[in-house]
């Protein structure tokens, strides 16, 4: 077996006419793939890292002290700590109240010393928020700002964190209060949501990239085969040809991989701006260590090289050209099996989850089913394209139609390959649009009679350290005098059913209208279901008459503060309530919308935004793939299509051929992808929530994404029209 000299390799691979287009194309494809992989890998690692980095704020070690008396003391080796979550508008603020001795040795991450009572440290994002917000709306909750927390102890640049110095009694009164001797970061235990998003992102972005590389390597394949056949004719062994092909791919992939590493570094600032869960990323979070980077480049190069060698071996190029049958085999219906299996796994998981008989966590089978469905779609594609071609072949009536449909029918895998990136992108965006549509079901909290008005907020009153009536009255007066507050109502309740049913709140009948009740029964006092009163939606809570003439025997339970409804008025009222000392420490006053769990929605929305971003990238890559594949398919038939032009076929007819070849499979499979995408979303949602959540109408941006994808496909095809005219020009084709 003869070897491959550098001179021969250079002559055959580099100095050939047209080889450069191919080399540049493949290098760019591999570079884009490696770039996206490194960014995605970096982001996945960063999600865990930043969660671990900020986990000290949740104070997981120590002894809880609620209910203990004031005899509990501190020494220099321990501090009292109380983690809680405050809110300002739709933003959550992580708050850690600390009480430490003056000579405390307990190290608080990022700080040289614990804040004194009445002082606080804030994250840079909170500092900015405080600077742009009147103190009455936010700053008064924390005291005097004495310093800034460093990025090294924060989750993201947008993290809102306050470490506040608080008196010991306040912390000891809270169920969340504890005594601890250290603040440690918890090892990241994994997050199913992150894994899910990463896997979906991986498929959505990397699959189109792999397809792009596969398609680009086909560019000029016919001419390349001719070159190799000529080499075989003049004496090269099959091994030499295989090694030449492998060498070519190895060099290209290595250059592409290194370029990809460079591009990943360049695009890191852009990727860091993507917001997920806790916010955007610190640039350093997205770094991938040198070993992993090396492994990625080496694995890409090795994989591509082996694939190229295998492909050339399989093509069995002899001295007279490729001896292998050039036509594809007719795809079999068995190609539908992975798709059916994936859908089956998800359907069974969803059904079992809804029936409450799922013995395990549904996440793993749902992820598995989803992966199988995604890959199944790629597997099934050629079969579905072939079916479409066969169906259309009996119904078409034009020359362009006959040529296009027969191409689709005879080369279903090649035809599908050209649109497969778009197919994957559209499937993914449909899955996310379907999953995100569930958020819209309870996204709007609106005024409804019998539910707390949206302009009101409420705070629970500490039932252990019940405030003195005078203290309560003072707070009510302060609230009454606060700008933007229109009504303050204190509700009362009982731990027994003697006077009023347990769980029900009593208010004076005169206050009922301001609480949004339409129909008020006669009597001095009325009661209502306090829990149902805070529901996001549902039947109106009805007032019941209470047979009492005064509030003796009852204890104050909640304060309802109605405001003019502006964000400023709500935040001022929240600040007054928080600093009043009426509530349990750490118990944040909230509106009905706050209670409805807007955080869940924002989490889902941030994932959906990420998905649209991923799909945008995937669609762009896919559009490039489509343009390259369309050009490659045309170049491979350059001679024959040129002949057709010579026979009198107009360029417009040739354009129609190319358009039909793309449109036929795309339209059929797009419809399937959209349907499958929403079915997948439904099965995942119902499977994960036991049927508590289901899909709804997708949001507007889904339809925009859909239209943009199809528009890109059109642009991709139209962009090849110039090449069609040039490459089939009669003067450029010899027919002798």
């Amino acid at each position: 077996m003869s070897g491959v000299s550098p001179a021969l390799a250079r002559l055959i691979l580099v100095d050939s006419r047209g080889a450069w287009v191919r080399l540049v194309g493949v290098t760019a494809g591999v570079a884009v793939g490696v770039t996206l992989f490194l960014l995605l890998f970096g982001a996945y690692g960063a999600l865990g890292d930043r969660q671990e980095r900020s986990s000290w704020l949740s104070v997981s070690t120590g002894e809880y002290l609620a209910g203990t008396d004031a005899a509990v003391t501190l020494d220099d080796n321990s501090v009292f700590a109380m983690p809680s979550v405050d809110r300002h508008g739709d933003d959550f603020i992580t708050r850690l109240d600390i009480n430490a001795t003056a000579d405390s040795t307990v190290r608080i991450p990022g700080l040289s010393a614990a804040p004194a009572v009445g002082e606080f440290y804030a994250s840079p994002a909170l500092v900015r928020l405080l600077e742009s917000t009147p103190a009455a709306q936010l700053g008064d909750r924390y005291g005097t700002l004495v310093g800034t927390l460093p990025n090294s102890v924060l989750s993201s640049p947008e993290s809102l964190v306050a470490v506040t110095g608080t008196d010991a009694q306040t912390i000891l009164a809270s169920p969340a209060g504890l005594r601890t001797s250290e603040f440690i970061a918890n090892p990241y235990g994994g997050n199913q949501n992150y894994l899910f998003v990463t896997i979906i992102g991986g498929i959505a972005v990397l699959l189109p990239v792999l397809l792009l590389v596969a398609i680009v390597t086909k560019l000029g394949a016919a001419e390349r085969r001719e070159r190799f056949a000529t080499l075989r004719l003049i004496g090269a062994t099959p091994g030499t040809v295989t090694r030449l092909a492998a060498l070519e791919t190895a060099v290209i992939s290595l250059v592409g991989g290194l370029l990809g590493v460079l591009l990943a570094v360049l695009f890191r600032p852009l990727a860091a701006m993507v917001s997920i869960d806790d916010g955007t990323f610190f640039l350093s979070d997205l770094r991938v260590d040198p070993l992993t980077t090396t492994v990625v480049v080496a694995a890409t190069t090795a994989g591509a090289t082996l694939a190229a060698a295998w492909s050339i071996r399989r093509a069995d190029i002899g001295p007279l050209g490729s001896t292998r049958q050039q036509h594809e085999k007719q795809p079999r219906a068995t190609r539908l099996l992975p798709l059916a299996l994936g859908l089956g796994v998800m359907t069974i998981t969803s059904a079992a989850s809804q029936l409450g008989v799922l013995p395990i966590d549904g996440g793993a089978p749902l992820i598995g089913g989803f992966l199988l469905t995604s890959l199944g779609l790629i597997m099934a594609g050629p079969y579905l394209v072939w079916r479409t071609g066969t169906f259309l072949s009996r119904r078409i009536n034009s020359a362009a139609g006959v040529v296009a449909v027969n191409r689709v029918r005879r080369a279903p895998a090649a035809t599908f390959r050209s649109v497969s990136g778009l197919v994957v992108a559209l499937y993914m965006v449909s899955v996310f649009a379907g999953a995100a549509s569930t958020a819209d079901l309870d996204a709007t909290i609106s005024d409804s009679p019998g539910l707390l008005p949206v302009t009101s907020l409420t705070a629970g009153i500490d039932t252990v350290r019940v405030p003195e009536p005078a203290r309560l009255e003072a707070v009510v007066r302060e609230l009454d005098g606060t700008e933007g507050v229109t009504q303050v109502t204190v509700s009362y309740g009982s731990d027994t059913d003697d006077i009023v049913e347990f769980g029900y709140s009593v208010v004076p009948a005169t206050a009922a209208t301001a609480l949004g009740f339409a129909s008020v029964p006669p009597g001095d006092f009325v009661s209502f279901d306090a829990y149902a009163f805070m529901a996001a939606a549902g039947p109106p809570v009805e007032l019941r008459p209470v047979a009492i003439t005064d509030l003796s025997g009852l204890t104050p339970r909640s304060v309802y503060v109605d405001t003019v409804g502006t964000p400023a008025a709500i935040e001022v009222a929240r600040t007054v309530l928080e600093t009043s000392g009426l509530s349990l420490p750490g118990d944040t006053p909230g509106t009905r919308a706050d209670a409805a769990g807007a955080n869940q929605r924002s989490l889902l929305n941030s994932y959906a935004t990420l998905a649209y971003l991923g799909v945008g990238v995937a669609t762009l890559i896919s559009a490039v793939s489509l343009a390259v594949a369309t050009t490659a398919a045309m170049l491979d038939r350059k001679r024959v299509l040129g002949l057709l032009r010579l026979m009198g076929m107009r360029v417009a007819t040739l354009r129609r051929i190319v358009s039909y070849e793309t449109a036929a499979p795309l339209l059929v499979i797009v419809a399937l992808c959209i349907g499958l995408g929403f079915l997948t979303a439904y099965l995942i949602l119902t499977g994960l929530t036991g049927g508590a959540r289901t899909i709804g109408m997708p949001e507007g941006r889904y339809f925009i994404a859909l239209a943009a994808s199809l528009l890109l496909a059109v642009v991709a095809v139209v962009s090849t029209f110039g090449a069609i005219r040039t490459n089939t020009a009669i003067s450029s084709t010899r027919f002798e």
């Binding site: 050039q326 040529v403 027969n406 076929m649 027919f735 002798e736």
Partner: protein, 242 residues
């Protein structure tokens, strides 16, 4: 429907005194290479003319100029009433589609289409319905003894069979002129003789004019007249039959 109804000839037939194809003072250069250097040629209706010459002599360029595939730098080509050399690209495409047929040496069949579908293409391009085109294609394939091969793909045909399918496609629209550039060049002598005989039988029967390029004297021997091109000029001509 007879295949004769598939094409409506718009060109005047040409007579012995008025040739169907007239080339006058044709010049064509590709860069610095002058492929045609002043060619005058008349071809009458129904005539089979073989154009011979060594490689690079300009015979294929001459064929392309006569068929309106390329526009000469100087000189004129007239086919019937049409001054081909002054038509625009679209008009020349229409002329080629309706009046001319083409057969080449190899690589002319669409690989994804069956033999039958390949033959239907010119008719579909000319605006005929699929059913009409399929019927005409079957008739044409039968005349070339290819009835049993209609559903085969080009890769499943022998060289001779593929060439006969190409001839069927060239003739299915009943063209006025058949341009054949080394139509048997890729075949062995037996298959070449077979293909040529069949093709000429069909064209003589329909009265189709043939411009045949070859460098094989045995192929040229089937023509009515032989024209020799050398260095872009006609260096000789002789009548072979009549």
């Amino acid at each position: 429907m007879s295949q004769n109804t598939l094409s409506q000839h718009s060109l005047s037939p040409g007579t012995l005194s008025t040739p169907l194809i007239q080339a006058r003072d044709l010049h064509k250069a590709f860069g610095r290479t002058e492929a045609l250097r002043g060619i005058d040629l008349d071809i009458h209706a129904g005539e089979v003319v073989a154009i011979m010459g060594p490689s690079g002599s300009g015979k294929s360029t001459l064929l392309h100029a006569l068929a309106g595939v390329i526009v000469p730098d100087r000189g004129t080509v007239t086919v019937g009433d049409a001054l081909v050399s002054s038509l625009n690209e679209t008009e020349r495409s229409d002329l080629r589609l309706t009046e001319f047929g083409f057969v080449f040496q190899f690589g002319q069949l669409l690989p994804d289409l069956s033999a039958r579908d390949n033959v239907t293409i010119p008719l579909l391009l000319a605006g005929h319905g699929r059913r009409v085109a399929l019927r005409a294609a079957d008739t044409q394939l039968d005349q070339l003894d290819l009835g049993g091969m209609a559903d085969k793909l080009p890769s499943e045909l022998s060289g001779g069979q593929a060439q006969r399918v190409a001839i069927a496609r060239a003739l299915v629209g009943n063209p006025r002129v058949l341009f054949a550039d080394e139509p048997t060049g890729s075949l062995d002598s037996l298959a070449a003789e077979n293909v040529l005989t069949t093709m000429l039988e069909l064209v003589r029967h329909s009265g189709t004019t043939v411009v045949l390029i070859t460098h094989d004297p045995r192929t040229a021997a089937h023509a009515d007249r032989e024209v020799v091109v050398r260095d872009g000029r006609i260096s000789g001509a002789r009548t072979l039959v009549g």
